[in-house]
């Protein structure tokens, strides 16, 4: 815990050096959801049948902007680069876990991004006449839990992809492949329930839904109690599986790892 807090403090200080970049990231991260939202407005105004009401679309995309920050990850590229350049060597001899450092870096940046994002979201909330979903308290708690689990799951998958650089010269192609599937099955571009039924059913068995869509489905109150329970349980199982996977890949990778020039 002390190591994590130390990494967290260092990462926050580091991130505060680049306040402008984080502010710009926060603004640009809402561009896609807002554009998609306006497109849905245009579609619904044209008289076409829509899976959600206007206010539900507003809730979906504004919450997506915030949840999207908490499930975003960037470590895979840097981990892959560090393995390729031999910079990971210093982490092998440290008494603290490399994953802990990445987690500290991840959470610190996300906190800063959220702080910058909140005024932007509030402004868009006024513009689009956002209304709070009327959920029972326990559903809000489950929503928060699901967001936390989604963030952990996305983080573990991301660093696992980064660790593949122990075997692949460049894991970017794997990352890109993951990104494409993530775009389709996570609900980032279009809500999952607008996809064909076959794809919706496939999404239940893939991890992507549990990295973004599930918390949003809970927020929209679209799930029955059994579906909610099943979704959360599957999410927890995926988190355990991803945790085990990342540990395994790291251990196997370190055995294989050799660096030149260090």
């Amino acid at each position: 815990m002390r190591a994590f807090l130390a990494y967290f403090r260092v990462s926050i200080t580091d991130a505060l050096e680049y306040r402008g970049d984080i502010l710009l990231y926060a603004i640009s991260s809402v561009m896609l959801p807002v554009t998609s939202l306006l497109l849905w407005f245009a579609v619904t105004d044209s008289g076409s049948l829509s899976p959600l009401s206007r206010s539900e679309f507003v809730r979906y995309y504004l919450f997506l902007s915030v949840v999207g920050v908490w499930v975003s990850n960037w470590a895979a590229y840097f981990i892959s680069r560090d393995i390729r350049l031999g910079k990971i060597s210093s982490w092998i001899i440290k008494p603290a876990s490399f994953t802990l450092y990445q987690a500290g870096n991840n959470i610190s940046e996300k906190i800063l991004k959220t702080i910058y994002l909140i005024p932007v979201i509030i402004a868009f909330g006024f513009i689009f006449r956002f209304t709070w979903p009327s959920l029972a308290l326990y559903k809000w708690v489950l929503f928060g839990l699901s967001v936390a689990l989604a963030g952990i799951l996305a983080f573990l998958i991301d660093i696992s992809i980064g660790f593949l650089a122990f075997w692949l010269e460049d894991s970017n192609s794997v990352r890109e492949g993951y990104s494409i599937l993530h775009l389709i099955f996570s609900g980032r571009i279009v809500p999952l329930f607008t996809l064909p039924v076959v794809l919706q059913q496939a999404a239940i068995f893939l991890p992507f839904r549990y990295t973004l869509s599930l918390p949003l489905e809970i927020m929209l109150d679209k799930l029955s109690a059994p579906q909610l329970f099943q979704g959360l349980l599957t999410q927890i199982l995926f988190v355990f599986a991803a945790f085990y996977l990342h540990k395994k890949i790291w251990r196997l990778g370190i055995k294989k790892y050799s660096a030149s020039g260090n």
Binding site: Y18, L24, L32, L38, F41, S48, E176, V190, T194, L195
Partner: protein, 263 residues
């Protein structure tokens, strides 16, 4: 102008040559990656137009628009992506100074650094699909429409370049702003759909989204020989002028405020 075109050609042909000299494995995976995004756009677009309609645009028109979007997007990635990335990196490392000392326009050397072969591959694929759409849907074709299409694609790419310059110029004054690289490409969803989709939005959103959407709507409309609304033509011309002026101003101001990281 002739000298600039010569330099442009040399940079891009050298880059292409370097890409083609890499192991086939690398290129294969890059092409597969780009192809997957290409197909993702195809698939998500097909889902949407299967369920919803856009006023003034038939199904065949929408497919022509999508393939124009694919051609435009991959060309933009080919022309600018590397330049945007490397410029931010160079400004932060101090190696941007070398670019300023060269006897060529700094904007040319900075932003045009060559593109990946996989982007050219997908551009050509978009072209093939576009021709296929014309044949499949039996859309009437005219060479005049084609000439105007190419011209409007070039002007659309110029607008995108100007936006990129405006964003990247912020790095000259404010330092490390890596988010500026992707900011320009975050708005892809807006120009995947026709401008008429945004007609019922409030004025502010209409101006922003229609300006973006016209990057592909304008060329597609000209190619299909459809009538174009006067207000959209005016908007397009204003966007072209405005973005050119803003890019020039931001770049000049940025250079004036620039102090090298290596000094």
């Amino acid at each position: 102008m002739r000298r600039h075109l010569k330099i442009f050609y040399r940079i891009y042909s050298a880059r292409l040559g370097k890409d083609l000299s890499l192991p086939l494995f690398n290129q294969f995976f890059q092409i597969i990656g780009s192809l997957c995004f290409f197909l993702l756009h195809l698939y998500s677009f097909g889902l949407l137009i299967g369920k919803f309609s856009f006023p003034g645009w038939t199904r065949s028109d929408m497919w022509v628009l999508l393939f124009t979007f694919e051609i435009f997007t991959y060309l933009a990635f080919y022309l600018y992506w590397r330049g945007f990335n490397y410029t931010v990196r160079d400004i932060n490392s101090g190696s941007f100074d070398m670019t300023l000392t060269k006897p060529v326009t700094s904007r040319l050397l900075t932003f045009f650094r060559g593109g990946g072969f996989h982007n050219i591959f997908c551009t050509l694929l978009g072209l093939v699909f576009l021709m296929g759409a014309f044949i499949y849907f039996q859309i009437p074709f005219s060479f005049q429409g084609l000439a105007l299409y190419l011209l409007s694609l070039v002007s659309g790419l110029w607008i995108m370049y100007c936006w990129g310059v405006s964003f990247i110029s912020l790095n000259l004054k404010y330092g490390n702003l890596k988010s500026t690289i992707s900011a320009v490409f975050q708005v892809q969803e807006a120009y995947k759909y026709p401008s008429t989709a945004y007609d019922k939005l409030s004025l502010g959103f209409w101006i922003i989204l229609s300006s973006l959407s016209l990057l592909t709507t304008f060329p597609a409309t000209l190619l299909l020989s459809k009538p174009l609304e006067f207000k959209l033509v005016v908007l397009y011309i204003l966007v072209l002028i405005f973005s050119t002026v803003i890019a020039h101003l931001t770049w000049s101001l940025g250079l004036r405020h620039y102090s090298s990281a290596s000094s």
